[in-house]
Every structure is written in structure tokens, then in C-alpha cells.
Symmetry: C2
Subunit: 211 residues, 2 copies
DNA sequence: CGATTAACTAGACCAACGATCCGGTTCCAG
DNA sequence: CTGGAACCGGATCGTTGGTCTAGTTAATCG
């Protein structure tokens, strides 16, 4: 009785605290080391407790991924539509690259509120440019897929750094790959690719091309 | 002695058999159900035996993924460069979609012999169009990333089929998304996006634009 | 005020996993 | 004949995601 600690303040473990700590843990140690036990330990509680707030571990990952999307600011309307698209897509890329683990868990539906908000913003920016119908859909589709693929490939390449040497050794068999696959300026390549898409959807065939 | 089975023929477990069986198992049951034990069982052996041929489970996945790339035929030279690029990229997409599990393990270096062969072929097709230097690199970069992102997004969407209904319920908050996110003609959207990229790298600024 | 209920916490436990240890067997080169 | 490399598997280790059961706190309602 008298040895009892002087009334611990209630932890008030909340979904928000769990997600924030999960993101921190993922940032520091990567996706492979995120376990319910370790996460609970960092939160000063037991692993079982987490399952009151969350149904499975996948829920934690879903929430963490959406939290990453929540970091990127929504673009303000107005201005050149191309600039707005660059803003949205570039914001996604920056946020995902800031948390490299997120690129490795992109194989799940992006249905969190933040992800949906930003996807809607992308559609809005494209619709403001005059796109509509299947052409609008194709534009959003290709932009979103391009940025996802870019982030995954960059994170993968940077995470396994010996790829350059590996390619150099096989320059005889893969000459073009060895010449251009190294010395990566990721940002420039990304900007160029985005430029291809934007001018392509301006000049491409079909109806409803933006100005 | 007398109870001994009449001389089982040597299993001759080889890397090829392991990879083939792994692909079959992945096709039938998905990536989550690929375990070394189950794979060994299907091969009529013990799980330990696999570790003689393979260092870790990741090796199996690496090999299986490269086997998928091995399915797509290399394009023959000649003809319109745009058609050849469509052939390469479309081949990747078809093979990856034929094995949906492959899209979820794309977050690893694509350094298998088949993957490298096809990447080199992509560079060759673009170089034949007159591209070179950073512009060639940006073209290959954007095409590869576009197709990877497309496959991942499509597989993800098709694997969790209730997304459409989910969006319909939230049509008030995400009007554009609800209107265009459903009724997906994936092939058409992909072809359109690929068209954007191809015309973009023809008409885009800079030097060395192909004809 | 007392009782019920929802929110919250934890220890013990389960089946399954990747991986390893150790011991055994087959086969071929020297 | 022999030694070593290739090949095989039972038992086992430590860890994981998840559940069962049981306990405690805080707010609500009659």
C-alpha cells in the first residue's frame, strides 16, 4: 500500500500518439523493425493495449502512410495549372522521400483522408486546366503512377548502394545501362519526366487539351 | 531394411525447380503464403534443404521476380521507335499483371539478368530514336517508373475491390475523385499515359529530341 | 449515492515464421 | 579406397502477430 507509486497519470493512449510514434519508429529503424511489441514499448505500454485502438498491424501502417500524406501542404488555387500540378506531385515526392519506408508500403489502397484530399486536389488542378472525361482520368492516372514509381525506384536504388559498382562490372553486357544508370541526378530526371508528361498532355491527340 | 522404400530417385533439387515452384505457389496463393516450409513441402523436401541452394527467403523472391521479367520476349529491332518502346513497356506491364504478387515486391533492386536485359533493351530502343545523354536517361527513367507505378496501383486497386463503393459514399467530399476514380479502363488509361510520355519526349524542350 | 458500462492495461499464451545446428547420406574425383 | 563436396532433414531457437483472460480506472445513468 505505502509502496504504491504516487498515482501514475493516466496514459491516455490515443490513435494519434500511436501513429506519431509509429512514424518516428519507422523513420529511425525502418519498416522491418516495426513490431507491435517495440512500438508498445516506446509508448510505455504493453503490446496488447495497442490492439484496443487498432485491429491489426496493417492498420498502423495504413495510418502511418496517410500521416505522410498529411505532411504535404495542399496547393493554393490560381496561377498556372502546370505549376500547381508540379506543386502537388512534387509535394508527394518530397514527403515520401522524407520517409523512405513509405515507398515500400505503397502496395496498399491509398484511401486515407489525407491521401484522398491530395488526390482530389490533383484532379482539381487538372480540371482547372480544361481537362475532363477520360482525358482527365488518364492525366491523373499517369501523374500519380509516375510519382509513385519514381519514389519506389529511387528509394530502392539508394537503399542498396552497391548497384553502381555491380553495373560497372557488367558494362560489357549492358553498355547503355552502365553508362547512364550511374551518376544519378534524381531530381533532374524527375523534373524532366514530369515535363514529358505535362507537355504530352498539352500537345497530345484527343479532345479537351489544356492551353 | 525390408521395409525400406524401393530406392527413391534422387530429387536433384535445383535452383530452377525451386524458382519455378515458388512462382507457382505465389501465383496460386499470393506473397503472404509463401513460406520456406510450404515451398519445401511442395517440392517434396524439408525446409532446411532449401537453404543449401538459397541464402535467405529474399533470394527466392528476387529470383521469382526476375523469372517474371524472363517471361516477356525481347523486342526485335527495327520499325518505329515508339512502337518498340510500347512493346517493351507493354511487355513488362503484361508480365507483372500476370503475376500480381510481383507488383508488391517491386521495392527491391531489379538487378537480375532478365530485368537487366530488358532495361538495356529499353535504353537501346530510346537511343535508336536519337536520344542521348541526360535526355535519354530521363526518358528511360520516366517510362520505367510510369509502368512500375501503374502496375502497383492497378494491382492494389483490384486486390481491394470495395474501394469503388467507399468512394461513392464520399462523393460529396471528393466529387472529382468519385466521378473519375471508378469505371476504370486500366488499359486505356495506361495507353494514354504512355502516349503523353512519348509525345512529351518528342516535343519537349532541350536538345536531341527524336523525330 | 451506488451500479453499470465503456475505456484501458497487462501477463501468459498460441501457432507460425525464418533461420540454424547437427548429424546423416549420396556421389564423384583422385 | 577415401576424402570432400553436394545434398538432405529432424529438432530447435528466438521472434513475430494476435488472442484469452483478468484486472483497473473513469464516466454515466437511474
Amino acid at each position: 500500500m505505502w509502496l504504491r507509486p504516487p498515482r501514475e497519470p493516466r496514459q491516455t493512449l490515443s490513435l494519434g500518439r500511436i501513429v506519431a510514434e509509429a512514424v518516428a519508429l519507422l523513420d529511425e529503424e525502418g519498416v522491418a523493425r516495426l513490431t507491435m511489441r517495440r512500438l508498445a514499448e516506446r509508448l510505455g505500454t504493453g503490446s496488447t493495449t495497442l490492439y484496443w485502438h487498432v485491429k491489426t498491424k496493417d492498420d498502423v501502417l495504413d495510418l502511418a502512410l496517410d500521416a505522410v500524406f498529411g505532411e504535404v501542404p495542399l496547393p493554393d488555387a490560381g496561377g498556372d495549372w502546370r505549376e500547381r500540378v508540379r506543386e502537388v506531385i512534387g509535394g508527394w515526392r518530397a514527403a515520401l522521400l522524407r520517409h523512405p519506408w513509405s515507398a515500400t508500403i505503397l502496395d496498399r489502397p491509398l484511401m486515407g483522408p489525407h491521401a484522398l484530399d491530395h488526390t482530389e486536389a490533383l484532379y482539381a488542378a487538372l480540371a482547372a486546366a480544361g481537362l475532363e472525361g477520360p482525358r482527365l482520368k488518364a492525366a491523373a492516372y499517369s501523374l500519380a503512377n509516375f510519382v509513385m514509381g519514381s519514389v519506389i525506384m529511387q528509394v530502392t536504388a539508394e537503399g542498396h548502394g552497391d548497384a553502381a559498382a555491380f553495373l560497372r562490372e557488367r558494362a560489357a553486357r549492358y553498355p547503355l545501362l552502365a553508362r547512364h544508370g550511374l551518376d544519378c541526378d534524381w531530381d533532374a530526371a524527375f523534373a524532366d519526366g514530369l515535363g514529358f508528361l505535362l507537355t504530352g498532355m498539352r500537345d497530345g491527340g484527343g479532345t479537351g487539351a489544356p492551353t
